[in-house]
């Protein structure tokens, strides 16, 4: 698989340039491979992996499972070491490996020249490739030559897209790129495209899960997946992996693992809607928790920003007014999604300081909501009769006292409904953070239908959760508003 944010590729390439020599010399200096069994016995290794990349790693009933998981656990058992698995996400796992926060990464990762500069790879443990699939009831398309004049879909930036583009002129079809497998499969089922080009194992797993598709061509030979350690680090772990892999291949366990996920049509007992509801609840609740956390933090910070810049907008200083108006126009004048991308991907590139996804998400939402809060505060203060300020000042009260005792209590009352509105908007906006991989409610929903392909039902549940929470919070806020602002 060729996933990997452009960012991490760039960062890795940079590190490879800077640290390449160091890494190589460290590798040369490390002792020749010791007997692996002896070296790793009794050790515990921390292994990083992706969050969801079915069938290599995904959660089933809350447990991490998949080909990678079964393999690494099987190898650990055969070689007598223990693994502690951290489900970090693909980019994060690679970054953790580079900074030695994990000892190894197994994440359906293609062995590429670029990555070999900074990591040491095991023997390939899986040969991937691209395969084409069509809707189950489609009898017209049986090969590439039937695609003439049709549209096919492939995952953006994937081997599938590269392959489809390489043959589209020959067979005269159009390639459309989408972001993830579940959406692509829905696109084919809905008839928007006639076929999908996807990673063979992902596709095979989906078909195995009754995603409504069937494969009609042989897989095209593609890249190989490998287990990686940081360059020059943990050579004994790498050696143990290779030995263990060979063992599992010899005793048939390796094939059994592949068959479990790719061959045997062991359809997850297609549970009804309520089965899906109860299965997905734990993950969705975790997501909802993060949604509320991000909303709460963002709203608090936005409130502070809004009050600060709101006062700037009504201040007598031209400079302060200018600062506030620039701030507001920047954050109101650009899409939230662009802001989120900027803070998560752009800013680290500019500063060289990586930023975790919660921080980036809260930063985005609070700066964005802060701009709207600024306008709410300005509007609230300006809607208070200037005569009120004059009365306060003419009594000899200072600016601050007049604001605090006379203007603000009246402004807050005017502002409260807008505040509640902004609160709801921000809560809904958290769903946009799914695109930067923040594991909030929408993201959890996407993860669930990425694994079970029940897009419609899952999204219904997600939407219902938002609806319930938002309405409860709105009711609560209105109650409080009535109580304190009578």
């Amino acid at each position: 698989m060729f996933r990997a944010g452009k960012l991490s590729v760039a960062v890795m390439a940079l590190l490879a340039l800077g640290g390449g020599f160091l890494g190589v010399s460290a590798a040369a200096a490390s002792q020749p491979l010791a007997q692996p069994q002896a070296a790793v016995t009794g050790e515990t290794y921390v292994i990083g992996t992706d969050t969801t990349f079915a069938p290599f790693e995904y959660r089933k009933d809350g447990e991490l499972t998949g080909i990678d998981m079964d393999l690494i656990r099987g190898i650990a058992k055969s070689q007598g070491f223990t693994v502690e698995i951290k489900s970090l996400g693909f980019d994060a796992a690679l970054q953790a490996l580079q900074s030695n926060q994990v000892d190894g990464v197994i994440a359906g990762m293609s062995i590429t020249d670029e990555r070999e500069l900074i990591f040491d790879f095991s023997d390939p443990y899986f040969d991937s490739g691209v395969q084409m699939a069509v809707a189950e009831d489609n009898t017209e398309i049986t090969g590439y030559s039937d695609l003439a004049g049709e549209t096919v879909v492939a995952k953006r930036g994937s081997e599938g897209e590269t392959f489809a583009n390489s043959i589209k002129d020959e067979y005269d079809f159009t390639v459309k790129a989408l972001a993830d497998s579940a959406t692509m499969y829905d696109d084919v089922k809905a008839g928007n495209s006639v076929a999908v080009f996807d990673d063979y194992p992902v596709l095979a797993y989906g078909i195995n899960q009754n995603n409504g598709l069937k494969s009609v061509t042989e897989k095209e030979q593609g890249s190989s997946y490998g287990f990686a350690v940081n360059k020059g680090q943990n050579p004994e772990l790498l050696a143990a992996f290779n030995t263990g892999l060979a063992d599992l291949k010899d005793n048939g366990e390796y094939q059994a693992i592949l068959d479990t996920y790719l061959e045997q049509p062991a359809p997850a007992a297609a549970s009804g809607f309520f089965g899906l509801l109860s299965d997905s609840m734990p993950a969705l609740m975790k997501g909802l928790g993060l949604t509320l956390l991000a909303t709460g933090l963002s709203i608090l910070i936005a409130l502070v920003l809004g009050v600060l810049f709101g006062f700037f907008t009504v201040s007598e200083s031209r400079v302060l007014r200018g600062i506030a108006s620039v701030y507001v126009s920047i954050f109101r004048g650009t899409p939230l999604l662009v802001q989120a991308f900027f803070f998560y991907f752009g800013l680290p590139q500019l500063t060289g300081q990586s930023i975790d996804v919660l921080t980036a998400g809260v930063l985005t939402l609070s700066l964005n909501a802060g701009a709207y809060m600024t306008e709410i505060v300005r509007g609230g203060i300006q809607s208070v009769d200037p005569g009120q300020t004059e009365a306060g000042r003419s009594l000899g009260l200072g600016y601050v006292t007049t604001m605090r005792r006379v203007v603000l209590p009246q402004a807050v009352k005017i502002m409260t409904p807008s505040f509640i509105n902004q609160f709801v908007m921000t809560l809904k906006d958290t769903s946009l953070l799914a695109v930067i991989g923040f594991a909030e409610l929408t993201y959890q929903g996407q993860q669930i239908y990425a694994a079970n392909f029940r897009t419609g039902e899952t999204l219904l549940i997600v939407a219902a959760l938002y609806f319930i929470v938002i309405n409860l919070l709105t009711m609560l806020s209105n109650k409080l508003d009535k109580r304190f602002n009578k």
Binding site: D385, G387, Q388, E390, A391, G392, R393, S394, L395, G396, L397, G398, T401, R405, V406, P409, Q410, K413
Partner: protein
């Protein structure tokens, strides 16, 4: 002794010169009524006396404080000058009592208990002892204006400024407010009263100033100004309002 001394006062809003050089001396205990057509600058003049409006030029000395001096503590000065507005400007989120107690307590001039006692006394004085816990919205216009006067008096000012204090009132309520002002005059309070009530000006004023187009056209005792105006502009104005 001069309580208010204004020399060469000019005030512009942008390119619009509203006050074009005023000279006024007001002595302690004097009641000065300011009359004149709409837009002549009466309110602006009053607002320059406690610097709610910045001065463009000239000097204003009030109760010994030079307002043209940038370093003067305006909050201190304003505690010596009470101001009553046409639209009352009571604080709607506070009770009548809280309105009156706000400045004395915030300015740490009085303890809460003392401020409360003072406030009740002032309310009694303006005839509203029974309205202490009411909200402004529950009062009539005349009652609101009397509360506003009590609120100004709570910081114990030496000078009171009234800007058309009765213009927003229904006719039957004008009397009760004028009575309060009349009482203050009788107690010797120095006052500048902008008013359209010519009868009242004639009755309580020691001196009447007639303003038009940002200048003082004519001033004198009520008898002189109302009985025997010298300027054509004054005669013209009086013929319209009397």
């Amino acid at each position: 002794m001069s309580k208010i001394s204004v020399k060469g006062l000019r005030k512009s809003f942008g390119s619009n010169e509203v006050l074009k050089g005023l000279d006024v001396e007001i002595t302690e205990g004097e009641v000065v009524c300011v009359i004149g057509p709409s837009g002549s600058g009466k309110s602006t003049f009053l607002r320059c006396l406690n610097k709610l409006d910045e001065l463009s030029a000239g000097t204003v000395i009030v109760d010994g404080f030079n307002l043209s001096d940038k370093t003067v503590d305006l909050n201190e000065v304003r505690q010596h000058i009470g101001m009553v507005f046409q639209h009352f400007n009571l604080f709607p989120h506070m009770t009548v009592l809280q309105n009156i107690m706000l400045a004395p307590t915030e300015l740490k001039r009085e303890s809460k208990a003392d401020a409360r006692a003072t406030a009740l006394k002032l309310l009694d004085r303006v005839g509203l002892a029974d309205k202490a816990t009411a909200r402004p919205a529950q009062l009539s216009g005349g009652q609101k204006q009397r509360v506003a006067i009590a609120r100004s008096l709570a910081v114990n000012p030496d000078i009171m400024l009234f800007d058309e204090a009765t213009s927003a009132l229904d006719p039957e309520m004008v009397g009760e407010v004028l009575q309060v002002i009349r009482d203050l005059a009788a107690e010797g309070m120095t006052m500048v009263v902008v008013t359209h009530e010519m009868g009242f000006a004639r009755e309580v004023a020691d001196r009447v100033i007639f303003m038009a187009d940002g200048v003082i056209v004519e001033e004198g005792t009520p008898a002189q100004l109302f009985g025997n105006p010298q300027q054509e502009r004054t005669q013209d104005f009086l013929s319209k309002v009397l």
